[in-house]
Each structure stands twice: as structure tokens, then as C-alpha cells.
């Protein structure tokens, strides 16, 4: 325990030194809070490269209001407790903007800490851009005025996914396997409820929750899925949890189709390869082959900047977040988070996937959602492969922004602008 404490504070000290050293007076600082060590470190690094990419693009055009954007990474170890400590640090350093997206448990903890801080110190408010933590409660009962979500939430995605699944007549038995925390539990709950409503004839033959980031061998779970006779599996797993699940399924020769949230996230496509063609599906707000010149240009620009085969463009949500943030700053001629937040509400965005807008009732970005299937790259509609595997995603269904809106229970207090 002592060791852990010493180790923790050593890292904190190192990060603090980096933060202090790099921070210069006239920049807009965005703190990037993510697990940069531990089982999800790889996922954290992917997001960081995207944010850096977005910030560099703004800076190349002269920054915002004459100031450069500066990205300052903090390691949360994907732990809610750790993240709250990190939040105190960034407040102490006077950072007013933060971004996070991996792990809804972390997001909920941060949103709570943020709410308390902002109500205590209205002069020093902090704005939170959430690019990927999709537990519905963040924009419903636990919503917060200073929290903006740029990814579609679990229910919006599940709505799209189950509508698509309901049309697949070959599905008879469905297995749910998810990570045992806020997000995974939401996926399981939404999946069960929506699927049984849309296709009462489908049987739910399994509903597993496994510890987050701790399972290194999914073979026992795959044996269980196999025994259940499922022909479709729904999983919200991300990071290594999806890559290892898919790997175990492939090793055991499991024939079921996988309906996932994050199979297109980096790490999984190289694991499955040929075996995933036609069998691996995902529901996302973006994939490289959605079509349109904007999307293609974005993917190519990103690949030029990060040529390593492990890197690929994934988070449009980070691009939209940075774009909206800078436009709101220019519109209000201010870098004060409260003014910027009021400007961001109801703001329209033209992102590469199509028209999108920030919903003022709960600060959820409303945008098109795609269901896509892992396919062989063919230079035409599957132009881009993922991680240079020769395989990419092909759109099965596109759900327009207006059809993704769901009711919300969010009631937050607006500050006076």
C-alpha cells in the first residue's frame, strides 16, 4: 500500500512538472484526462493523438482568439477515484477546459466533481467535453450544465442497432456480454429491453457481466456462449476487452455474429482478420467508409500525420468537440467556460458525417448513427481498411440525426450569461 502511494505520487509529481513546465501564459489549455497507464493505456493514447491532431489544425490557422491551444495530458488510470484527484490538480493549475471519453464510471465521477466545483466557484468554472463515455445517465438524471457529450449515448446507439437487428430474420437467440460497470450494465439493460420489444420472438439466452479490464482469457466465456446456442452476440466491450473476446471467439470457431459498439476501435480488426468478414458489426457515429469527400480527406490527413499502421482515424467526436469549442470562443470573443457553454448550446455543426447540433436540454450532440459490417476492402465503397489489415467497415444502415433523438429527464440550472 505504501508502495502504491509512493508510486502514485511520483507519477503525479512527474505529470505536475510536465504540466507546469509546458504551460505558458497565453494559451487555451485543454486537459486530457484518460487512463494513460493500466489495461486501457492504448485506448487512452489513441484519443490523445486525435486531440493533438485537432489542436494542431487550429493552431496552424493561428489558434483561437490569437491564442494557441495547448493539450495537457493527465493519467487517470481509468479509475474514478484517481480521476477526481486529477480533477483537483487541473483546477489548481487553472485549467478551464477538459476532455475525457473512456469509461463512464470515470465520466460520472468527473461530472459530479465538476458540478460541485462549478457551483462553489462560479468565477473559475470548468467545461467538460465528453467524446466517448456514453452512459445515458450523464445526459439524463445525472446531467450537468458544463458537461457536453459528442458521442451518441448507449440508448441512442442501441435504438439504431436493435432496429437493424430486428430486420435480420436469421437471428433467433441473442447473448449479451458486457463489462460490469455503469456503461456495460446500460448496454445490457437497453439491449434486452429494446430487442424484446421489437422482436418478441428472439430469445435472450445469456446475459453476462464480467470485470472491467481484468479478463485476459475469454475462452471460458466463449465456451458458455457456444453452449447457449446463440447466433448473435451483443457487446459494448471496448479496448482490450473486445479484442480479447473476439480473439477467443475466433480461436474457438464460434459462428455467432457479433453486434458491437467498439469492434472498429483499434486493436480488434487485426485480431480477427478474414474470420470477421460479414460476422462483425458495429454501431458508431463514424467509420472511415461512410462516404463523402470530407470523411475521406479526414482519414487521409490523419494517416499522413500518424503513418504507423496501428494508428487510424476513429474519433470524429474529438474533432467536432474542438471545432465547436473554438467557434463558440470566437463567437463570444471569450475563453470563459460559462459564456462558451451558453454559446455551444444549440450550436450547429457540420461534421464529416453530416449535419449535427448540440441539444440544449441535455447537451447531447445529435448526429447520424451508422451500423456497419466488417468487409474486405475493395477500393470502392470499402475504400479504407482499418489498421492496414485489408479489411474495413461497410455501412449497412444510416440513421439520420433527427431519428436518433430520445426523450430526456435532464433538468439542469443554467447560469446567467
Amino acid at each position: 500500500m505504501i508502495g502504491q502511494y509512493i508510486r502514485g505520487s511520483a507519477i503525479a509529481a512527474a505529470l505536475f512538472a510536465v504540466g507546469m513546465g509546458a504551460a505558458s501564459a497565453n494559451t487555451v489549455k485543454i486537459a486530457y484526462l484518460e487512463g494513460l497507464s493500466g489495461p486501457f493505456a492504448n485506448v487512452g493514447e489513441v484519443g490523445l493523438r486525435h486531440l493533438q491532431f485537432a489542436a494542431d489544425r487550429i493552431n496552424a490557422k493561428g489558434g483561437v482568439l490569437g491564442q494557441k491551444i495547448e493539450v495537457i495530458p493527465f493519467d487517470t488510470k481509468t479509475s474514478p477515484q484517481e480521476a477526481q484527484l486529477v480533477f483537483k490538480q487541473l483546477v489548481d493549475q487553472g485549467i478551464r477546459y477538459m476532455m475525457q471519453g473512456n469509461g463512464s464510471a470515470v465520466a460520472i465521477a468527473l461530472s459530479e466533481a465538476l458540478g460541485k466545483h462549478n457551483s462553489r466557484e462560479p468565477e473559475k468554472t470548468v467545461l467538460y467535453m465528453n467524446y466517448g463515455a456514453v452512459d445515458p445517465s450523464l445526459t439524463n438524471d445525472k446531467c450537468n450544465f458544463y458537461h457536453f457529450r459528442f458521442d451518441a449515448d448507449v440508448d441512442m446507439k442501441m435504438q439504431a442497432l436493435t432496429t437493424y437487428m430486428a430486420q435480420q430474420k436469421d437471428i433467433t437467440k441473442v447473448y449479451l456480454i458486457n463489462q460490469d460497470y455503469a456503461f456495460g450494465q446500460s448496454v445490457a439493460k437497453a439491449g434486452r429491453a429494446m430487442l424484446t420489444k421489437k422482436r418478441p420472438d428472439i430469445q435472450i439466452v445469456g446475459d453476462d457481466l464480467h470485470p472491467l479490464g481484468k479478463i485476459k482469457d475469454f475462452a471460458p466465456y466463449v465456451a458458455k456462449i457456444k453452449a447457449s446456442g446463440a447466433d448473435a452476440v451483443i457487446s459494448g466491450n471496448w479496448g482490450n476487452d473486445i479484442a480479447l473476446l473476439i480473439k477467443a471467439a475466433k480461436d474457438a470457431g464460434l459462428k455467432a455474429k457479433f453486434y458491437t459498439y467498439y469492434a472498429g476501435g483499434l486493436g480488434t480488426p487485426p485480431v480477427i482478420g478474414e474470420a470477421g468478414v460479414g460476422n462483425l458489426k458495429q454501431v458508431t457515429v463514424f467509420h472511415s467508409n461512410i462516404g463523402g469527400s470530407g470523411a475521406a480527406a479526414e482519414v487521409e490527413a490523419y494517416r499522413k500525420r500518424f503513418p504507423d499502421s496501428k494508428d487510424d482515424f476513429y474519433w470524429t467526436t474529438i474533432m467536432t468537440a474542438v471545432d465547436m469549442l473554438t467557434r463558440a470562443m470566437e463567437q463570444t470573443k471569450s475563453t470563459d467556460p460559462t459564456k462558451v457553454a451558453l454559446a455551444m448550446e444549440n450550436m450547429k455543426a457540420t461534421q464529416v458525417t453530416g449535419e449535427a447540433y448540440m441539444r440544449p436540454e441535455n447537451h447531447q450532440l445529435v448526429q447520424p448513427i451508422f451500423v456497419s459490417t466488417f468487409s474486405k476492402a475493395n477500393g470502392k465503397d470499402v475504400k479504407f481498411d482499418v489498421e492496414r489489415t485489408g479489411f474495413g467497415f461497410q455501412t449497412d444502415a444510416r440513421i439520420e440525426a433527427k431519428d436518433t433523438v430520445l426523450p430526456t429527464t435532464c433538468k439542469f440550472q443554467r447560469p446567467k450569461g
Binding site: 464480467h210 471460458p220 457456444k226 480461436d251
Partner: protein
């Protein structure tokens, strides 16, 4: 039936890997009286060394080179670390290995980064060996089992049939007598420590690519290995073997059981609903509780039989 057989094989391959790790730990403990907290770190180093060497010269040379490299590190650790602090007693030795585990982890961070590295199963072993009904069984798992069993047999013969094995066994119980017979007991200690580290390293080589090679792998497997050693009885190789298989089976099979205490209540005729007191606790299924079960077993063992399954010492 299909589920049972596949899971049995999975639990065997996992259990054997656990044994490869715990055998070294238990040998070192019985000889030197030191619980080596850095043991799982040698497992991690084995995986990282194998990753590095397999990128340079391929997997098969790595299978030999990586454990030898780990053994060399183990020898150095014993000769220049443990032996130096030995005179300050067991607490100093314990703290030394404890600190070493952190140092190794930080060194791994510095060299290989905090994210998992791509240490992949060699292409020649990446196919399915056979099918049980309709489930394919990956060849690499068979290979893992073969390596583990091969090591088990080699270890058995080395300890019981060779001269050095006899000296090691004698040094376990009567170090002073062995020394007065003219054997270099400190060197025997060093050999055992290096050998134990090599076994952990070998486990890392074959476990690192079957699972994930990341800086957290030492911590995630370290606690389980202690459970195995305590459960099997400190210092007992046979105990460690049985315990490895039992813990492997408990962890693997528990996934398949979706029963919770609610089912038990229903059997007993006690009615429960979502409003009942402690409902969230009762509804936890065995499969969800799986990761905790080995620790529960360990606690029960310590309560009812503190010396472990086949241990000889009390407490």
C-alpha cells in the same frame, strides 16, 4: 458435455501455467524462507524479453533465450541483492523483493511504455488443433500444455534423480549439514533462485502472447500465485500442483454458473423481490463472483488448515 470438455481443457491449460509460476515461488520459499514478491515480475520480464527477441530472431529462439535471460537476472538478484540483505533477516529480504517488483514495473514502463505490446502467437501455431463436437481448440493452448507438462516432468526428474537435485533437497532441510559436507550452499541458493525465475520467465514466454503482455500483468497474476502457494501449502511442490489445477478450475468453471443466492433462497422457499434487504448482494451470480472465489478459498484454507493442502509448516 461440449461446454464441460472445452472448459476442462481451458482450466487445465490455465492451471498448468499457474503451476509453472508457483513452482518456482514455492521452491524459493521452502529453501530460503523468503516469499519473493518480485516473482510475478520475472513472469512479466519473460514475456517482454520474448516479445523483443521474437521480433529480432523469431519465437522459437525466444522460447530458450528469454527464460535464460530471466534466469541470469534472477541469479544477479540473489547474488548481489538478497544475499546482501540476508544478514538483516527475513523482513529485509521481503522488503527487498517488494521494492524490486516496483522497480521492475517502472523499468518496463520506461522501456516498453505503458500500453500493451503486440506480442503475437507465432503463425505456425495459430491454427485449430482439433474440434470437440463443434468447438475448435487452438493449437497454441495444446502447445502451452505440452510445454508445462514437459517442464513438470523435467523438474521432477531434476529434483529426484540428479545429483544437484539431491543436494537441493538436502539443502532445503539441512543447509548446515550440506555445507559441512563441502557443498557450496549459497551457490545452491543462487541456482534455485535463478531456476525459479527461469520457470516464471518461461511461463511469461508462453503466457504473454496467449493473453496480454502489458505492465500490469505482474500485478494481475502475482496475487493469484500467492493464493496458489498458500492454498497448496507453503513450500510443497505437490501442493502447488494440486492448488494450481484447483484454482485454475475454479476460475474457469465459475464463469459457466449463473446461479446466485436468490436461486438458493427460492429453493428454500424464501421469497425475495427487488425491494428485499441486501438484494444487490444476493443477486450476484457465481460467474460474476468468479474473480473473488480463489481468495475466498484461500481465506477458508487459512482458517481451517493454516498449513495448506500439503504444507508441512504451521501458519
Amino acid at each position: 458435455m461440449e461446454f464441460f470438455l472445452v472448459t476442462l481443457l481451458n482450466s487445465l491449460s490455465y492451471g498448468l501455467l499457474l503451476f509453472m509460476l508457483s513452482s518456482g515461488l514455492t521452491l524459493i520459499f521452502s529453501m530460503m524462507g523468503v516469499l519473493n514478491f518480485a516473482h510475478a515480475s520475472f513472469y512479466m520480464l519473460g514475456a517482454y524479453f520474448a516479445f523483443q527477441t521474437s521480433q529480432a530472431i523469431g519465437f522459437w529462439p525466444a522460447l530458450v533465450v528469454a527464460p535464460i535471460a530471466v534466469a541470469a537476472l534472477g541469479a544477479i538478484t540473489e547474488r548481489y541483492g538478497l544475499r546482501t540483505v540476508h544478514k538483516y533477516g527475513h523482513v529485509a529480504e521481503l522488503l527487498f523483493t517488494f521494492g524490486l517488483a516496483y522497480i521492475i514495473e517502472e523499468i518496463v514502463h520506461l522501456i516498453w511504455g505503458r500500453a500493451p505490446v503486440e506480442y503475437k502467437i507465432p503463425a505456425v501455431l495459430d491454427f485449430s488443433a482439433f474440434s470437440i463436437f463443434s468447438t475448435q481448440y487452438p493449437a497454441y493452448r495444446v502447445f502451452m500444455m505440452l510445454v508445462s507438462v514437459g517442464m513438470l516432468i523435467a523438474l521432477y526428474f531434476a529434483l529426484t534423480r540428479t545429483r544437484i537435485g539431491l543436494i537441493i533437497q538436502a539443502s532445503l532441510t539441512h543447509p548446515d549439514m550440506v555445507e559441512s559436507l563441502g557443498h557450496n550452499v549459497p551457490r545452491v541458493f543462487m541456482t534455485v533462485f535463478a531456476g525459479g525465475a527461469a520457470l516464471a520467465g518461461l511461463a511469461g514466454v508462453i503466457g504473454g502472447n496467449a493473453f496480454v503482455t502489458e505492465p500490469g500483468m505482474a500485478a494481475s497474476v502475482g496475487t493469484i500465485v500467492f493464493v496458489v502457494v498458500v492454498f497448496g501449502g507453503m513450500g510443497s511442490l505437490a501442493g502447488a500442483f494440486v492448488a494450481s489445477l484447483v484454482i485454475g478450475a475454479v476460475q474457469t468453471f465459475s464463469v459457466g454458473f449463473d446461479y446466485s443466492l436468490l436461486n438458493l433462497f427460492a429453493l428454500l422457499g424464501i421469497e425475495t423481490s427487488a425491494d428485499s434487504a441486501w438484494y444487490d448482494l444476493w443477486k450476484v451470480t457465481i460467474s460474476q463472483a468468479g474473480p473473488v472465489l480463489p481468495y475466498i478459498l484461500m481465506v477458508l484454507m487459512l482458517i481451517f488448515r493454516p498449513k495448506g493442502l500439503m504444507g508441512t509448516r504451521e501458519g
